[in-house]
């Protein structure tokens, strides 16, 4: 017992009808990296939030160094030596590194000893080779550096057990290597690390032990050396991983969508796209790969008209549409758009399913005439879409926020595809969906391809891209690195391009 730094015993936590953690056991050896592996919704985050004192478990107990501890708040967790780096950093953007680190630290007096803390933080930072300026404002640091500030914060608060929630999701492939080295240094310094991930390669690369969760339960707990990626994948998904959508042979037609040297800025006024040029033909799926934040969002927005370009041209069927409005692009030109963040851009969550189904055509006949709505036409339309796309709901008058993510995405697809578009821009259309919904979405996209639609498919999930795309282009800091035919697009080659290494 005593050789476990941390043990969770029979942890159960339910939210209403959903059991997020079902009698979970987790044992972590001191001075090791312990991976907790599982798909979205497997219960990893709930378990970690319990460990960190944000949620209270219904039953079960937590032991640190063999002693039972109660953690009912993050503060108590930290007092027991447990610290967590959240997937979304808990940093205050406009405070300095030092201020962020000492925030909420117990045992300080009323007066803030900035100079003293800064000196000690600098020493600690150097001893781990972090190279962080404690006086810098956090917002001015790159993401990888902010992650180090989070880790430094835990070290400065004397955390012994470090929970890292999907730490590599914010890193580019070439930042991942140095990050793993850092984990080794932490391990050497005697720290115990819990590493939450859904990526198999990472488990094999750094973990000493691995616990696999699925459906709120622990399915396996083994040494990393005693397992292999295939069996981990099987355990994680709960079935044989055989993922293949139907793809029929086809021929492509004329060029429909063309970008010619497009340069555009992002919301912060920085350059997001730099002289991007490509063309997409009728009946072709052109994929855009890249680490999140390399210009994908902006690319989708300039094509759909939500963002203006600084220079360059966008053409549809040979016609320059660079200055055309959003609604004309959607209407006359037939550019359909499945936005990346459906809650932010694609839906009005307070509105009904029926209203969301006409979001892009609300002012057209038969839905509206003389400035007023025709409710019957709107209801008939919604009922038809719901039937055709098999949307599961109680009523078309239901607020769309109460639909599942997959069904919300179906409403968007139905709305965008019903008018027989010529161009489809799909930005991360499978994000956050379960396996069944992913297959449905991809099948719909392939159906459109067979109909002769020119499709731009943006995704950060390489496997999904390779499943559906005919060609793949790679975006790296706003530039289109290269374009590969599906047959040549191996994960290795794309991975290099994603890291900014030209082939």
């Amino acid at each position: 017992m005593a050789d476990y730094k941390l043990a969770l015993e029979n942890i159960t936590k339910s939210f209403g009808a959903l059991t997020a953690n079902d009698a979970v056991n987790l044992r972590v050896r001191a001075g090791t990296v312990h991976a907790v592996l599982g798909e979205n919704g497997a219960g990893k985050s709930t378990l970690m939030n319990i460990l960190y004192g944000l949620y209270k478990p219904d039953s079960g107990r937590i032991l640190v160094d063999g002693q039972p501890v109660t953690v009912s708040s993050p503060k108590e967790a930290l007092a027991s030596g447990i610290g967590m780096v959240h997937q979304h950093f808990m940093l205050v953007a406009h405070l300095t590194v030092t201020e962020n680190i000492v925030l909420g630290m117990s045992g300080q007096g009323l007066m803030l000893d900035v100079a003293g803390h800064t000196r000690r933080i600098e020493d600690l930072s150097k001893s781990f080779g972090f190279d962080i300026d404690p006086g810098a404002e956090v917002i001015k640091l790159p993401i990888g550096m902010q992650q180090r500030v989070e880790i430094l914060k835990l070290l400065y608060h004397n955390a012994e057990i470090l929970i890292l929630d999907e730490p590599t999701s914010v890193l580019t492939p070439n930042e991942t290597g140095p990050f793993f080295e850092l984990l080794h240094r932490l391990k050497d310094a005697g720290k115990t690390i819990i590493f939450i991930t859904h990526k198999l390669e990472e488990v094999m690369a750094v973990a000493d032990d691995v616990t696999v969760m699925q459906d709120g339960k622990v399915r396996a707990s083994v040494g990393a050396a005693d397992t292999d990626p295939a069996s981990l994948a099987r355990t994680m998904v709960g079935r044989e991983v055989l993922f293949q959508v139907k793809r029929s042979a086809h021929s492509t037609g004329e060029t429909v969508l063309e970008l010619d040297g497009v340069t555009a800025g992002n919301d912060r006024g920085l350059k997001a796209l730099e002289r991007v040029s490509f063309e997409v033909r009728a009946g072709e799926v052109f994929g855009i790969a890249g680490v999140d934040g390399n210009g994908q969002t902006e690319l989708a927005e300039v094509i759909t008209g939500l963002r203006s370009v600084d220079s360059g041209r966008i053409l549809v069927a040979g016609k320059d549409i660079t200055q055309t409005s959003v609604s004309r692009r959607a209407g006359e030109l037939g550019i359909a758009y499945v936005p990346e963040d459906r809650h932010r851009d694609g839906l009005v969550l307070d509105d009904s399913v029926a209203q969301n189904a006409i979001l892009r055509t609300y002012d057209q006949a038969p839905f509206a005439s003389y400035g007023f709505f025709n409710r019957q036409a709107i209801a008939d339309h919604a009922a038809r879409l719901v039937r055709d796309f098999d949307v599961r709901l109680q009523s078309i008058d239901q607020e769309i926020r109460y639909l599942s993510g997959g069904n919300q995405q179906k409403v968007i697809l139905a709305r965008e595809l019903e008018a027989n578009p010529k161009v489809l821009v799909a930005a991360q259309p499978t994000k956050g969906l379960d396996v069944g919904a992913i297959e449905f979405v991809q099948q719909q996209i392939l159906n459109q391809r067979d109909r002769g639609v020119a499709i731009l498919y943006i995704s950060t999930e390489l496997e999904h891209l390779l499943d559906v795309c005919d060609r793949v282009g790679v975006l790296f800091s706003g530039r289109l690195m290269d374009t590969l035919a599906a047959a040549d697009a191996t994960p290795e080659r794309i991975g290099l391009l994603m890291a900014g290494v030209a082939a």
Binding site: D267, R268, R344, V348, D350, D351, Q355, Y362
Partner: protein, 365 residues
């Protein structure tokens, strides 16, 4: 159980009123009078007395229009606290047309005055709207500050260039009697302005329920990003909603001049613009209910005069009661907040601002 709760919840404005009257009765006791007798006098005077009811309608007119001036922009998540100023500028424009545009037949001249008043209010509201849409300057602060500017400006006008010769107080000459709005109730002050207000409220209700504009306005308020994606212009809706709201308030000022006072007085509005906020929230931002809440607040105001004459209770007691009403309405929002129209309308305010940030290109994270 849930349905009981729901009914109770939807009646929250009624509870707020009852609670405010209950606390108000303590205030009346403190003033040394019998609350039951006082309320009886007040409500009898406000609603069950021919002259009193006419006085209620006179007050209801500006209250309703000012209330609608708050309701409309809030559908897009925007706060117009500037109805007071818009009332003044509207009244000023109407008076100028009434006094200095000669030779028109009466009815046409009334229409022209009315349009001028609406235009004045709309232009005054355009200032905060432009600043909000293109400079992201907080519309609440700007509308509040502009109220004081308008108040003093009208005060200057009626004590200087437009002052009646030899008048003891700052006011303009009387407008020609051909411009007096016809009376709704014979031998009283109640004029047709209140009917215009009711018609506007009903129209607004229909537009909110079934109109495309009601939908786009709400969409801009609920999710401005989705609104852009649907091809709606957030900036245009900010400007349009404020200008229409300003026009409503401008009409309130116009009818005060054409229907009630027949001159432009210094400081004539006495806070109708602010009372409009109470009307709007008491109505749960529903234009149809605004008719009733304006009638109620108008009744409180006119009944208070009755109460003072009959029992010597200070009219300021209804200001206190009105303050309690809005406080309790605000407090009632603590329950099932999201389910209310008010909650929905303003929960998205932040998002409008973020969308504007995104557009002007300096959103910081």
């Amino acid at each position: 159980m849930d349905s009981v709760y729901r009914v109770m919840f939807h009646l929250r404005s009624v509870w707020a009123i009852l609670l405010a009257l209950a606390v108000g009765s303590i205030l009346i006791l403190a003033a040394g009078s019998n609350p039951i007798e006082a309320y009886a006098t007040l409500f009898k005077g406000a609603f069950f007395d021919y002259w009193g009811f006419a006085a209620t309608l006179v007050k209801m007119c500006p209250l309703l229009l000012a209330g609608l001036a708050v309701v409309l922009p809030l559908r897009a998540g925007l706060f117009n606290i500037g109805a007071e100023g818009q009332i003044y500028i509207g009244a000023l424009f109407a008076t100028i047309v009434a006094l200095y545009v000669p030779g028109l037949p009466g009815p046409l001249h009334i229409v022209l005055c009315t349009l001028a008043g609406a235009l004045g209010g709309a232009l005054w509201a355009l200032i905060p709207a432009l600043l909000k849409a293109y400079q992201r300057i907080n519309e609440i602060i700007v509308t509040l500050l502009l109220n004081f500017v308008a108040l003093h400006f009208v005060s200057f006008v009626v004590s200087g260039p437009m002052m009646e010769k030899g008048a003891p107080y700052p006011y303009s000459p009387e407008i020609p009697d051909t411009l007096f709005l016809p009376h709704l109730l014979a031998r009283t002050d109640a004029h047709y302005g209140v009917l215009v207000g009711v018609v506007i409220a009903l129209s607004l209700y229909v537009v909110f329920q079934r109109g495309v504009f009601g939908f786009t306005l709400a969409t801009v308020g609920r999710n401005p990003n989705a609104a852009r994606y649907a091809g709606m212009s957030v900036e245009r809706h900010i400007i349009l909603s404020f200008m229409i709201a300003g026009a409503f308030a401008g009409l309130a000022g116009t009818f005060e001049v054409l229907g009630h006072r027949y001159r432009l007085f210094h400081a004539f509005s006495q806070g109708y613009g602010y009372d409009g906020i109470v009307v709007a929230f008491l109505a749960g931002l529903n234009p149809l209910f605004a008719i009733f809440s304006a009638l109620f607040i108008g009744g409180l105001r006119s009944g208070a005069n009755m109460m003072q004459r009959a029992m010597g209770i200070e009219t300021t007691v209804v200001e206190a009661i009105q303050g309690l009403v809005i406080l309790f309405v605000a407090a009632s929002l603590a329950f099932r907040y999201r389910a209310t129209a008010i909650g929905r309308a303003i929960a998205r305010r932040q998002e409008v601002e973020e969308a504007l940030d995104g557009q002007t290109g300096d959103r910081k994270t």
